[in-house]
């Protein structure tokens, strides 16, 4: 009788563990989305810049414009490394969940992940220093380290599982704060203005080009339409990412509720499945962003 009861607990735990792992996998590298928005903006800027440069009849100015485009692109390429700390915190959290829910036994290498916990706390501290508004709760990294320090072979081992549950529930405030930060980034007036500036900029650059070049080719027209389409695409990507971020916060809350027994596993799984499809769709959309021929 006792072994039957234990068996059913373990099944639920394993299922929950899988659920947590799947969540972590779908949110893995989330910071790539804003990075891709930024690099697509840089590509569009470069594309239209070449047309503008070609409108200049004075050779020195033409060259100076090309040099400026080159310098600007170098600077833009360095920007992704400096993306907001909030995105990195979420990435690290998902990395941690993946590590903890891995089927592979803990090895000496995984124990090195204790360092990962302190890195996570450092990131949160850095965010709190920079952020002018709300602060993220500290101590998530320490909670992570506690699980690893248990040193058992599988995360399903009793105490370790309890710690994982505490880790996810404890991180819920962190995840919702980070999501709020991401939403404010994606919905910011500055990002909207940057996208809009490219839209009007494409029109302007081509106007200059068509003014000075007497024979525009069909290829130029295609490039114009292509660049306009890409800007339009960026707007819709921004909105879809915002919707995914909102859902991410909701789904994490439900996941934490399922782990704390406030919600049934079945209803959580259904919501998670919808979220996974949304995330997959979003990843596919971002994958379609092509590398411009100007590279």
């Amino acid at each position: 009788m006792f072994s039957l009861f234990l068996g059913s607990c373990l099944t639920v735990s394993r299922e929950q563990g899988r659920m947590v792992r799947q969540f972590a996998k779908s949110t893995e590298n989330f910071s790539v989305f804003p990075l891709k928005i930024g690099s697509e903006l840089a590509c569009i800027r470069e594309g239209r810049g070449i047309y503008y440069a070609n409108s200049l009849t004075e050779p020195l100015l033409h060259l100076a414009e090309l040099d400026a485009i080159f310098k600007e692109r170098m600077n833009d390429d360095r920007l992704p490394g400096r993306v907001g700390v909030a995105f990195k915190v979420l990435d690290r959290y998902a990395d941690g969940l993946l590590q903890l829910t891995s089927d592979a036994p803990f090895t000496a290498r995984s124990r090195c992940m204790v360092r990962f916990g302190s890195e996570m706390d450092t990131l949160v501290g850095k965010y709190n220093q920079v952020s002018e508004g709300h602060h993220l709760p500290a101590g998530i990294g320490t909670a992570f380290a506690a699980i690893v320090a248990e040193g058992t072979n599988h995360f399903l081992a009793g105490r370790q599982y309890q710690l994982l549950r505490r880790y996810v529930i404890g991180a819920d405030t962190l995840v919702s704060s980070v999501c709020a930060e991401m939403l404010s980034w994606l919905s910011s007036e500055t990002l909207r203005q940057l996208i809009q500036n490219e839209e009007t900029g494409i029109h302007e650059s081509f106007r200059f080009f068509f003014t000075k070049r007497s024979q525009p080719t069909i290829e130029c027209d295609r490039d114009y339409l292509d660049l306009m389409k890409r800007v339009e695409n960026l707007n819709s990507l921004r909105l879809q990412t915002m919707s995914a971020v909102r859902d991410l916060a909701v789904v994490h809350r439900k996941l934490a509720e399922a782990l704390s027994g406030k919600r049934t596993l079945q209803e959580t799984i259904e919501q998670l499945t919808t979220f996974y499809s949304e995330m997959e769709h979003l990843r596919n959309l971002f994958d379609t962003l092509k590398h411009p021929k100007y590279n």
């Binding site: 004075e58 414009e65 500055t190 203005q193 900029g201 106007r207 200059f208 003014t211």
Partner: protein, 106 residues
């Protein structure tokens, strides 16, 4: 808000330059002058865009001095641009009038 205003001022000024450049029979030195002005405006636009990107990733929150410098630069640019746009509009109008006169005389 200041940046958006300045960016739209730049667009307006560039529009005027493009209109001026499209006028047939412009003197070569006038063309070079207009292109130079347009190139300066492009550089100003790049400066603003770079500042906006920095602001977006939160770098400017800690660099209040840099932010102040950029804001001051933008305020100065906005004034210069309004003047420049006014001058350009007058130039375009004048060139148009001269062409009309030449056409009538022709």
């Amino acid at each position: 808000m200041q940046k958006e205003l300045t960016l739209s001022e730049i667009r307006l000024a560039q529009e005027e330059i493009a209109t001026s450049l499209s006028v047939d029979g412009l003197d070569r030195s006038m063309v070079v002058h207009l292109e130079q002005t347009s190139f300066h405006l492009r550089n100003l636009e790049r400066l603003l865009v770079a500042a906006m990107e920095k602001e977006l990733i939160g770098e400017l929150k800690k660099e209040s001095l840099a932010l102040n410098a950029v804001t001051e630069e933008m305020a100065r640019a906005a004034v210069q641009l309004s003047v420049l746009t006014g001058v350009l509009r007058k130039v375009v109008k004048m060139v148009g009038q001269i062409i009309d006169m030449l056409e009538i005389a022709g």
